[in-house]
Amino acid sequence: MKAGFSFLLVLLAVPALWQIIVWVFEPKPAFLPPPAMVAGVLWSERTSLLGHTFTTLSEAVIGYAIANAIAFGLAVFFFHVRGAERVATPWLVVLKNVPFPTVASILVVVMGDSLGPKLIIVVLVTFFPILANLNKGLKSVDPGLVDRMRTLHATRWQIFSKAAWPASLPYYIAAHEIAFTGSIIAAIVAEWLFAQRGLGFLIVQASTQFRTDRLFAVTIVASGLAMLAYALVGLAERHVLRWQRA
């Protein structure tokens, strides 16, 4: 309730503050358009904005789902196969530290302006926080509990599903707070680098046309998407980790 109230306060305060700045300093609309002007763009271009938003959201969600599947598979593999993490870590570190704009440029050259390069960028950005957190979470399982289960002759799968997986959930959920919101930003950045559709494309277009009002409108939509992603993860957390609040 308190969090909801604070959120509502921010939603009202930001445009109010924005309007006050416009009244007091009277900046040119090209520098800081008034909130009403941006609201006008949001309304008049709603169909176009919705279409581009859908493109960005699709890339973000698909990329995020792929990243999640790979990270989950790898974390489970590391948990079950002793030494696998040690072998894979140097490769993952190299992959993580390759600057993704460079990767994006290479991908565009190789694959052209298609969905693939954008998904790969989203995967590269969101994959590591999920893998790192899930891996840490699986390792956080109480060794005494694992020993107790071993004395009951539990299988590896039983140890994973009944002890390690529940132990990893707080870490896993925390990873999604970063990764899900990050996937939206990553999709926009990928479109900003190379695309003919999506919010990132709109940003490039609005910049080259000096349409600050449209830039603000896209920023509001993008922020709304990221906040929606955050809220969805929050809902999942409330459901999955309800025992923590008992």
Partner: protein
């Protein structure tokens, strides 16, 4: 029946945790392993539980290798720190054992919770339970599949003296009904004397059996009206305290 024959355990780095240990525990017997830190008590318990293997010598539990005994669900283990799943309630934690081990004659988890004085807390998560309650749930988890052998590694070690005494009395009454074979690792002379049939005194560096002491039955039944019994038990306590380094004795 548990048999430990000429068992040694060496760790990498040259540490000798156990050196040619011999021990036999009869069916239904309660044996305490008492000794200072580093004397190999917990290592010996881990060997009995099939969690480690001996470097040399033979360990059998009910005539089987410990891992085989585990496979048959013949062993229940409770460690000093409650090994509970935080996202499961007390009842669900006890049920976890039965999800892994399917043995005829297992206790009903609800019934066990009632017997352990936790019926009102069946739907409480571990973080909602006191330390003593968590330990009782922990023991119930080791108990519920009705294993022939119960291995307890300082199950009350982290508790204050009063709670510890109360839980020791409670464990004695529970075991009196079930008649399981128990091996208890403890630092506490009081715990060992009031619960055990025999006490195995161990010494460190390397871990060896120093002596094995038989406890008078009256120490467990609490017949303190008999001056002869009181004198015998007091003398036993003195003997054990004298045999252990001062920092060990609780």
């Amino acid at each position: 029946m548990i048999t430990v024959s000429q068992v040694s355990k060496h760790f990498s780095g040259g540490t000798v945790a156990l050196d040619t240990v011999d021990l036999t525990v009869a069916q239904g017997e309660f044996v305490s392993l008492l000794g200072p830190s580093g004397c190999g008590k917990s290592t010996l318990l881990r060997l009995l539980a099939g969690l480690d293997t001996a470097s040399s010598g033979i360990v059998t539990v009910g005539g089987l290798a410990p891992i085989e005994a585990c496979r048959r669900g013949a062993i229940g283990v409770a460690f000093q720190r409650p090994a509970l799943v935080p996202s499961r309630t007390a009842l669900e934690n006890i049920q976890l054992t039965l999800e892994i081990v399917h043995r005829p004659g297992s206790f009903a988890p609800e019934e066990l919770l009632r017997q352990f004085g936790l019926a009102a807390f069946r739907n409480h998560y571990p973080h909602q339970l006191s330390g003593g309650m968590q330990l009782r749930v922990n023991i119930a988890c080791a108990f519920v599949h009705r294993p022939e052998i119960l291995l307890l590694d300082e199950p009350f070690g982290a508790l204050d003296e009063m709670t510890r005494e109360s839980l020791t009395g409670w464990l004695r009454s529970v075991l009196a009904e079930t008649g399981q074979t128990v091996v208890l690792v403890t630092h506490s002379v009081e715990e060992a004397v009031t619960l055990s049939h025999r006490i195995v005194l161990m010494r460190p560096h390397p871990g060896r059996v120093q002596s094995i002491v038989t406890v008078p039955a009256a120490a467990r039944t609490g017949d303190w009206t008999n001056p002869a019994v009181v004198s015998e038990v007091t003398s036993l306590r003195r003997q054990l305290h004298a045999a252990l380094p001062a920092e060990t004795v609780a």
